[in-house]
């Protein structure tokens, strides 16, 4: 009887150990596949002092509501901590957001005409309008006009597969670094996700770096 109970306890412990160890190992193996990263993006998607002590890399989706909220916080941070801060903006259009990719492409094309920030501000500001639209192309034309872009060049650029490839390359970069939520920020490499975390942990991290 005692031997039998002992055997039962051994089987119980053995099964528990295997069931705990196997998924733990699987998670750590999956987590360990991140690739080395030297983040960069075109100059028109960068803001602030290039030699700043703090570099923020942002992965954003123009159709994500929290990205629009975070954009306001980012602006405040850039003003408050100038000239110690620099921002690099990267695209992360979600597949489940109908117009996310098209707007990222439109913003990239605005960037090629030197109006990336004006255009992206407008996209966040008018998110409620174009996100519900059935003809986003028409709205992109009107936004391009309102930030004084060359409409013809902008339209042509939006159809250029090379521009789509730029957006897709940012997405791949995000995937390689486990960016699976927007907005995601890397503040000198420290990850912060969402506008709430940016306001609390993000600003705390910036202050910590600047006080060093």
């Amino acid at each position: 009887m005692t031997v039998s109970l002992q055997h039962r306890a051994i089987r119980d412990l053995l099964a528990g150990a295997v069931l705990i160890a196997a998924p733990t190992l699987a998670v750590f193996v999956a987590k360990g596949t991140q690739k080395p990263w030297i983040p960069d993006c075109p100059a028109y998607r960068q803001k602030g002092n290039p030699d700043a002590k703090v570099t923020i890399i942002e992965f954003s989706d123009f159709q994500c509501p929290d990205c629009a909220r975070a954009a306001r916080t980012v602006k405040e941070i850039l003003t408050q901590y100038d000239p110690d801060i620099r921002l690099l903006m990267k695209y992360h259009p979600w597949w489940f957001h109908r117009w996310a990719k098209k707007t990222a492409i439109a913003a990239e094309c605005a960037g090629k005409q030197g109006k990336f920030w004006e255009f992206s501000d407008l996209l966040f500001e008018k998110q409620g309008e174009w996100a519900q639209s059935n003809d986003v192309g028409k709205l992109m034309d009107s936004y391009a006009q309102s930030v004084h872009l060359n409409i013809h060049a902008h339209k042509k650029c939006r159809e250029d597969p090379a521009v789509t490839a730029v957006v897709e390359s940012d997405l791949k970069e995000a995937k390689d670094h486990w960016v699976d939520a927007t907005p995601t920020f890397f503040i000198n490499g420290v990850r912060v996700t969402g506008s709430g975390q940016l306001r609390r942990e993000g600003i705390r991290e910036i202050k910590r770096i600047l006080e060093r």
Partner: protein
């Protein structure tokens, strides 16, 4: 036949928890923390800790249920988790908290809060079945009890 069905349903229930837990566990905790924050239930200072622990609880409970290990306890745990998820979703609806997605499976399967509110009771039914009949077929519990 009933035993085989109970086994299949137990695997489905465990599988859902394994997928959800694994997705959250491999992703940075900050991402799940942002999802939890959107529910506006927990105080911000506890969110990151909660976001670090919950995926592992989901993962282990899911594996225990699927394998039929301490089946009644693990099925009861899945039931409790499902009830708490449902309560959290209902509370966001009552308070008018806007949620784009429930965040249940990270962004791999972006379910809306309403879809999740419909799915949770179904899974709760599976949890009850697993609690009552989960040990009966191809469970580790049976293998452990063999020596009795």
């Amino acid at each position: 036949m009933r035993q085989s069905l109970a086994f299949i349903l137990r695997i489905i229930l465990g599988g859902v928890f394994i997928v959800a837990g694994f997705q959250h566990a491999v992703s940075p905790a900050q991402e799940f923390a942002a999802v939890i924050e959107a529910y506006s239930i927990l105080p911000p200072s506890y969110i990151l800790l909660f976001a670090t622990i919950l995926p592992w609880v989901e993962l282990f409970v899911g594996i225990f249920v699927a394998a039929g290990y301490h089946t009644r306890f693990s099925a009861a745990m899945t039931g409790l988790l499902l009830l708490s998820f449902e309560a959290a979703l209902i509370s966001t609806k009552i308070r008018g908290v806007p949620l784009e997605h429930c965040g249940c499976f990270a962004n791999a399967f972006p379910l809306t809060p309403l879809q999740t509110m419909a799915l949770d009771p179904v899974l709760l039914g599976l949890a009850v079945l697993a609690f009552r009949h989960g040990r009966e077929c191809m469970s580790l519990d049976r293998w452990i009890d063999q020596g009795r």
